[in-house]
């Protein structure tokens, strides 16, 4: 091909040929769009008329947008409730399944099933379970003597907790699998040494398992935070952001502005806020993991 070229140069030519398809697709659908999204966020653009430069107008409008304020509050509520719940339950099930208990493969598969399920289908069945008139959940509640069960998805107070329950249900299995992998990386000698020093039961968990698991815990935390900020499909199917925007979250708001109101600039500005949050979470992971995370 290159005739007299050195081996290294032929390597380089081969490398770029191997990379060519990925470079084209990456540039077209990721690289350029990231920059484009940033630029679009400084325009007013409804797709029917040419874009108009708006400076910081979209960002200033977001800052003064009362619905956006509510959306950010809802998103924070969702993240703060669902992340700890799915982590605690994920860790608990990982610990329970790490003892060599009978049927653990079965349990692992059963707990992981919601993870692989389409969120749209999951949201539909949960919307049916939470149905305030004919749903199973309120039927069970009244069977246990609750006389005035919540109206769940129809109630501004209870819709968000319902969405959170479904999100936790769907993500516990994922946290569990990551924690299980982390638990299995803890050297057995540590427990043997601990036993000699009298570390058993809770002590063993607190002084050996928890510190040795901290890199995993930290990783699960960051992944869960990033994932939770992107909640969309549950809201789309279960509540359509209602009632009265009680479950409107950041990505739903981006979708709403971009694809229902055709405000591409405004939606892109909101998307940039999401980008910033995810970026910060990732950077925090890089910087902090060396400090309080213990690597064995």
């Amino acid at each position: 091909m290159v005739g007299r070229g050195s081996l290294a140069r032929r390597d380089a030519v081969a490398a770029w040929l191997f990379l060519a398809p990925s470079l084209v697709l990456f540039a077209t659908f990721t690289g350029v769009p990231v920059i484009a999204a940033f630029l679009i966020s400084f325009t007013q653009w409804d797709l029917f008329n040419p874009p108009r430069f708006a400076g910081l107008g979209n960002y200033l409008a977001l800052a003064g947008d009362r619905i956006f304020g509510k959306v950010m509050g809802n998103t924070a509520y969702f993240v703060l409730a669902s992340v700890p719940a799915q982590m605690v339950l994920g860790l608990a099930s990982a610990l329970a399944l790490n003892r060599g208990i009978r049927g653990q493969t079965f349990f692992r598969v059963a707990y992981f099933l919601p993870v692989v399920t389409s969120t749209i289908a999951a949201a539909l069945v949960w919307a049916w379970l939470f149905n305030s008139n004919f749903g199973l959940i309120n039927a069970l509640l009244s069977a246990f003597g609750v006389t005035d069960p919540p109206r769940w998805l129809g109630s501004t107070a209870w819709a968000m907790p319902a969405v959170i329950v479904v999100s936790v249900w769907q993500n516990v299995g994922y946290a569990m699998v990551l924690f299980l992998a982390g638990l299995q990386n803890i050297p057995k000698d540590l427990y043997d040494a601990g036993a000699i020093d009298g570390a058993m039961g809770w002590k063993r968990f607190y002084f050996i398992t928890l510190p040795m698991l901290s890199p995993t815990t930290f990783f699960v935390l960051i992944i869960s935070i990033i994932g939770s900020f992107q909640v969309f499909e549950l809201v789309f199917v279960m509540t359509n952001a209602g009632p009265a925007n009680a479950t409107n979250t950041l990505v739903f708001y981006i979708y709403q502005n971009g694809f229902q109101f055709y405000q591409m600039g405004y939606a892109s500005a909101a998307a940039m806020i999401l980008f910033l949050i995810v970026l910060m979470a990732t950077l925090v992971q890089y910087r902090l993991q060396t400090r309080w995370v213990h690597y064995g």
Partner: protein, 279 residues
């Protein structure tokens, strides 16, 4: 396995019971989905509800295909998922080969750029991508559904890590025997990486089967919808016909669950590999 120290049969029994209760919570909704889908209409709105009907009906499984083009949506999902999976296997493995087995200037910075893309939430690029696909006239087309996902940074990263574990001597020996890079890639690296390729294939297929936002915005005609989008359309049209909605849900989750139960080991490996999986 963890140490069995401190094993206590009473504790284990208690745990077993708690774990079983957990199964009811994690799998109960699937049972309820299935149970509702075969209920006669009259029985659905009975309060308190019956768990399992004495008179199961399969009408909904017929009706759903006439209510909306659900069969077509199924075929669309299959076409899109298979195309994306194959494309990712080929394109990501080629890129991974360059990163893992070849020396060239700019390798590290380019790899970092690919990796950095993992930090970009998909919702950030979706607006420019929509504008692009729309201006190309690709709304309601397979290329519009497939091409934006034909390459994945995650897949490249996963395969590169795996390719790096292949002994360099093997590649050097092949070079001395006169193989070019294309042959080394095709006849040595790829066959040795079946496990990693399988994990990526499963991950790609399942995430695309469940993908929603992109197919939602780039399809307008029911004939081009994928299963998830068809399901949400069904909800819009029949929002109180719970047996029909549950039928659609059963059909949407069944293929993935079947694949999952048949190959759960490589499945979980695929979904957690390289630690960037999940959503």
């Amino acid at each position: 396995m963890a140490s069995r120290r401190g094993h206590n049969s009473a504790v284990d029994w208690l745990l077993f019971v708690v774990l079983l209760a957990g199964v009811v919570l994690s799998c109960g909704p699937f049972a309820w989905m299935l149970a509702t889908s075969v209920k006669p209409d009259a029985e659905v709105f009975r309060f308190p509800p019956t768990f399992f009907t004495a008179d199961p009906q399969l009408d909904n499984y017929r009706e759903i295909f006439s209510a909306i083009p659900f069969g077509r949506a199924f075929a669309n999902s299959l076409v899109v998922c298979i195309a994306i999976t194959l494309a990712q296997l080929i394109i990501c493995s080629m890129a991974a080969y360059a990163f893992a087995c070849l020396d060239f200037r700019g390798r590290e910075p380019l790899f970092l750029i690919y990796l950095a893309a993992l930090m970009v939430p998909p919702q950030v690029t979706i607006i420019p991508n929509f504008i692009l696909v729309r201006s190309l006239g690709w709304i309601d087309t397979y290329q519009g559904l497939i091409l934006p996902f034909a390459f994945s940074s995650f897949g490249t990263f996963l395969l590169r890590q795996y390719f790096k574990t292949i002994p360099r001597e093997l590649i050097e020996a092949a070079r001395i025997d006169g193989c070019n890079h294309w042959q080394i890639y095709l006849y040595i690296v790829m066959p040795l990486s079946r496990a990693a390729l399988g994990a990526l294939a499963i991950f790609a297929f399942v995430s695309q089967w469940n993908n929603f936002l992109w197919p939602l915005i780039v399809t307008t005609r029911p004939e081009m919808q994928t299963v998830t989008v068809a399901l949400s359309t069904l909800q819009g049209q029949y929002n109180t016909d719970w047996p029909l909605l549950m039928t659609g849900s059963v059909l949407a989750v069944a293929p993935v669950i079947a694949v999952f139960i048949l190959g759960n080991r490589s499945f979980i490996a695929g979904l957690t590999a390289g630690s960037f999986g999940g959503r």
